[in-house]
């Protein structure tokens, strides 16, 4: 309002001013706010070539960690982070070869690390290895870490199952007491208390050792503070070394000093001297705000190699629904990478398509991942029923008909646009992993609608057996379009309408599937370690049945017998046996191969050394930030 003007007449005279000013101010505020929120990718840049002055890598994660306790971990997203914080005795290099980590060598019969009968491993520890709190890594830490992991009985405890005394320890640890508070503290505390007196707490006041929690096959010949560990197996094991090498799980070495003070929540706390997430890796947890962010910092004077160039890794925890804003932030340079942390499957097709048709296309890294998706038939659960149950010629013939009616190559191009997946033509084990049969070597990958129709006519001439079939799957991602594709192929090539049963809750779906409650269901596996045993033990046969994980119910004495033998052999001798197992499954038409997953990463050109192999992100200590 202009001063001096008559307030009534002036109101009329200056009528438009307040509104115009207000609107103008609003516009200005919006632009100013936009500027406030601006991020210039050049803000930290330097024109000179070489490393940027700030070596802080920032990327989003689309999942919260469930647990980073290696004794309890069970998710890829967790192990992707933990591999940078914890070390095992060995590690997988970028080509998935097993190389020394805390151990000085990879034990073989030739170097004396493995006894001639294959039952005893002698491991020498790197004497320079330390936890990030300064504690030296000695034999007692290996014994404690593995004893504890077995006692906790987590999802990956079976990785240590070949070690003598495994069952005894689990029996001694028993079941946790019923919780009245909803907290698992009692169980984990009793294990910590039982082991404290055996290792780092030995001799301290009040510490007692519950020796029944110690694996009899795990000893320290040079003493607990020495650098030699001897592992005695109850039976020969050709896959154990790979399983023990799996990062972030039961093979990881943890610090008893840090865990003892808070057995449940130690991993959620920043690393301290005697508490928090203490590890031996190149990075330590500096901050963790659940469902918000994590900060990892490089360990100064880290004992391993390569020495980290990054000083800090900042991770924002996002919901997958925030993908669009996250990608926009990456384009602005706020994030160095999208896809790290087990999230390479989160970029959807529209996003990837928009990237490939833009100037950012060179920043897209496409990497086949070790995950296969297939369809499982109900073979061994008569209670569920359906035409596919059993080993009769009719059941096998109908399974074959449904398999041959699906165009796997067409599925990969139609559903995945040849970007998100590739056709699974080389067997269940993904390309790039040991046990892959070779391109187009899986007979079940064939597409032959004519033979499919003949088989259907032969085994179900009236159509009564195949009427009212249902394919079940958990919704989300590629599962919905894949289901529709399958339905369409069966309708087109067999003239059969298969009902779709989309299950919104993944845990419910998995529970039902593991219980054999579906006649046809989506199935799949993401490999843990590069050994075919990881597939054939966990998904079919007597071991899977005993573990409650035999989706199809397929079990066969010949399969079981070959599996038993294969599991005990070194990989070069075991491989032909595992291939026999693959053939048994193929001859039985136990599955319909669908696709191999492909991961997609967005990596800024100034992030050097980042990448991924079939299994894991490259370690953070290989990454550096270039001037930009």
């Amino acid at each position: 309002m202009t001063p001096g003007k008559p307030h009534l007449g002036g109101a009329a005279a200056g009528r438009h001013r307040p509104s115009q000013a207000m609107l103008g101010l609003s516009l200005l505020a919006v632009v100013a706010a936009a500027a406030c929120g601006s991020t210039s990718s050049a803000s930290s840049s330097s024109s000179s070539a070489g490393l940027a002055s700030s070596q802080v890598l920032k990327f989003p994660a689309f999942q919260n960690p469930g647990t980073w306790d290696p004794g309890e971990a069970d998710a890829e997203v967790d192990t992707e982070f933990m591999q940078n914080v914890f070390d095992n005795l060995w590690r997988f290099d970028d080509s998935l070869n097993i190389v020394p980590d805390i151990a000085t060598t990879v034990p073989t019969t030739a170097n004396g690390g493995v006894s001639s009968d294959g039952l005893t491993y002698t491991v020498h520890l790197n004497q320079s290895a330390t936890f990030n709190n300064g504690d030296k890594v000695t034999a007692q830490d290996v014994l404690y870490s593995w004893d504890r992991a077995v006692a906790l009985q987590g999802a990956y405890s079976a990785n240590l199952s070949a070690i003598a005394g495994y069952s005894d320890v689990q029996k001694a640890a028993g079941s946790p007491p019923a919780s009245s508070t909803g907290s698992p503290e009692g169980f984990q505390q009793s294990i910590e208390d039982g082991l404290w007196g055996c290792f780092r707490g030995k001799g301290t006041a009040g510490a007692t050792c519950n020796s029944s929690l110690e694996l009899s096959g795990l000893t320290a010949p040079d003493g607990l503070t020495g650098y030699t560990v001897q592992i005695k197996l109850a039976n020969a094991c050709g896959w154990c070394l790979a399983a023990w090498t799996l990062e972030g799980t039961t093979g990881a070495i943890v610090d008893e000093n840090a865990i003892h003070s808070d057995p449940v929540n130690w991993w959620t706390k920043p690393s301290g001297k005697t508490d928090g997430m203490v590890g031996t890796g190149a990075f330590y947890l500096a901050s963790f705000i659940p469902k918000q962010s994590m900060v990892f910092k490089a360990v100064k004077n880290w004992w391993g190699s390569p020495k980290p160039t990054l000083t800090e890794v900042d991770v924002d925890i996002k919901d997958p629904s925030a993908l669009a804003t996250t990608v926009a932030a990456w384009k602005q340079g706020s994030y160095g990478i999208i896809g790290y942390g087990g999230d390479s499957g989160n970029l959807d097709y529209p996003t990837i398509e928009s990237i490939t048709s833009s100037t950012y296309s060179k920043d897209l890294l496409t990497q086949p991942k070790g995950r296969t998706t297939w369809l499982s038939f109900d073979i061994g659960y008569p209670k569920t029923g359906g035409p596919f149950v059993g080993e009769s010629a009719t059941a096998v013939g109908l399974r074959k008909a449904f398999d041959l009616a699906v165009d796997k190559t067409g599925l990969a191009s139609t559903v995945c646009h040849d970007l998100l997946c590739t056709a699974a033509t080389g067997g269940l084990i993904t390309k790039g992993l040991t046990g892959y049969l070779g391109d187009n070597q899986d007979p079940l990958a064939q597409y032959d609608p004519t033979e499919a129709k003949q088989l259907l006519k032969q085994y179900d001439p009236t159509g009564t057996l195949t009427a009212n079939l249902t394919y079940s799957y958990n919704t989300g991602g590629l599962n919905d379009p894949v289901a529709e594709y399958l339905q369409n192929d069966w309708q087109t090539n067999l003239g059969i309408h298969v009902n779709l049963n989309p299950v919104g809750d993944a845990s419910q779906f998995i529970s039902n599937r593991l219980g054999g409650q579906y006649e046809m269901s989506r199935d799949g596996w993401q490999f843990d370690y590069n050994n075919p045993q990881d597939w054939f033990d966990n998904l079919w046969g007597y071991l899977a049945t005993a573990a409650g994980a035999n989706t199809s119910g397929f079990d066969d004495p010949t399969y079981d017998s070959i599996l038993k033998q294969a599991d005990t052999e070194p990989i070069d001798q075991a491989l032909p046996l595992y291939k026999q197992l693959a053939q048994i499954l193929q001859q039985d038409v136990a599955y319909i191969p669908l696709y191999y997953s492909v991961g997609n990463f967005l990596i800024q050109p100034w992030v050097k050394g980042a990448g991924s192999n079939t299994g894991f992100d490259y370690y953070w200590d290989q990454i550096s930030i270039l001037s930009h």
């Binding site: 406030c36 991020t39 909803g182």
Partner: protein, 317 residues
């Protein structure tokens, strides 16, 4: 504060407590009845699964579980998260609540600030282009959902502006800490606020139009008071009563907006948790979030009722 008001507050607080008990019980029972659980996966099944269920007390009857939950909740302990295993729920949801309060507060400022400013301007410039523009904006704001406004905002201020200016001036859709900066906050707040401010604009305009035609306004002008004094001090105060009457529902609208917008912008607040915890079968978190939302709505409605007495002295409890 009169004795009557005090009694009214106590009664309302008792009803809120009762509501919280009912909400927590119903939600607790319903989420536990949903098929599936937080632990099961391709790798966690059989004995591993049974151990986890036992460890976390989930194999007990649901009423016993609720009783255990309630005993803790009375002492401010909402139990532990099942998804982030062992993480305490109370500090988690309180932190997320504070984040949502920041966003909700900013959205409320936008709602009231824009809504009332536009409403007043439209009223005092009735039947001019300003009136037409602002009422049109209000209708558009009221009819376009907040997530559409958010999407458009991201396209314009993050993507378009970012590409046009080479990233020099653009909205950066990254929430960098627990609490957002003004640069991070304005677009999410605007997305929620534009939607809810539409209603405020319309009510304020209608109310103002009614009030500025009253005799006392004419008298005030005749006394020679400046126009802004007449508008703000005499007209607006009386026009506020109907606006405040819808403030309760507006706050609920903002809370609903927070649920959606936090997911779009990846803001680590209670709204994001609302959806996540259900999908993750994180029972204690879900119950905590629902209970806090019920508490927020109860308290905000109580606050609105108390504000009535300040704005309109005729109202007494």
């Amino acid at each position: 504060m009169t004795r009557g008001t005090l009694i009214y507050i106590v009664q309302r607080l008792a009803i809120i407590v009762l509501t919280l008990l009912v909400v927590s019980f119903v939600v607790f029972v319903v989420v536990h009845a949903l098929p599936g659980n937080a632990f099961i996966s391709q790798r966690v099944h059989g004995r591993s699964l049974q151990l986890l269920l036992h460890e976390y007390g989930l194999d007990q009857p649901v009423l016993i579980q609720y009783w255990n939950f309630l005993k803790g909740a009375i002492h401010g302990d909402l139990g532990v998260s099942l998804y982030i295993r062992g993480e305490q729920v109370t500090p988690l949801v309180l932190r997320e609540l504070s984040v949502s309060c920041e966003l909700g507060g900013a959205a409320l400022i936008v709602t009231i600030g824009l809504g009332m400013t536009f409403g007043v301007l439209a009223a005092i410039r009735q039947n001019t282009w300003v009136d037409y523009l602002l009422t049109t904006l209000a209708v558009v704001g009221y009819t376009v959902p907040s997530f559409v406004i958010a999407g458009l905002g991201i396209m314009i201020f993050a993507n378009f502006l970012g590409s046009v200016t080479g990233g020099a001036i653009a909205y950066s859709p990254v929430w960098t800490g627990t609490y957002g900066t003004i640069g991070e906050l304005w677009l999410p707040a605007l997305s929620i606020g534009l939607y809810t401010s539409g209603q405020i604009t319309r009510i304020t305009r209608a109310s103002m139009l009614e009030v500025i035609q009253q005799d006392y306004i004419r008298t005030a002008r005749a006394k020679g008071l400046r126009e802004w004094v007449v508008t703000l001090r005499h007209a607006l105060r009386n026009a506020l009563v109907p606006v405040i009457s819808i403030l309760g529902t507006t706050v609920v609208g903002i809370l609903v907006g927070v649920l959606v917008i936090e997911n779009i912008f990846g803001i680590p607040g209670l709204g994001k948790e609302f959806v996540e915890s259900i999908l993750q079968h994180d029972y204690n978190v879900t119950v905590g979030v629902f209970t806090i939302f019920a508490l927020l709505i109860g308290l905000s409605n109580l606050a609105v009722d108390l504000i009535y007495t300040v704005v309109d002295p005729r109202i007494r409890y």
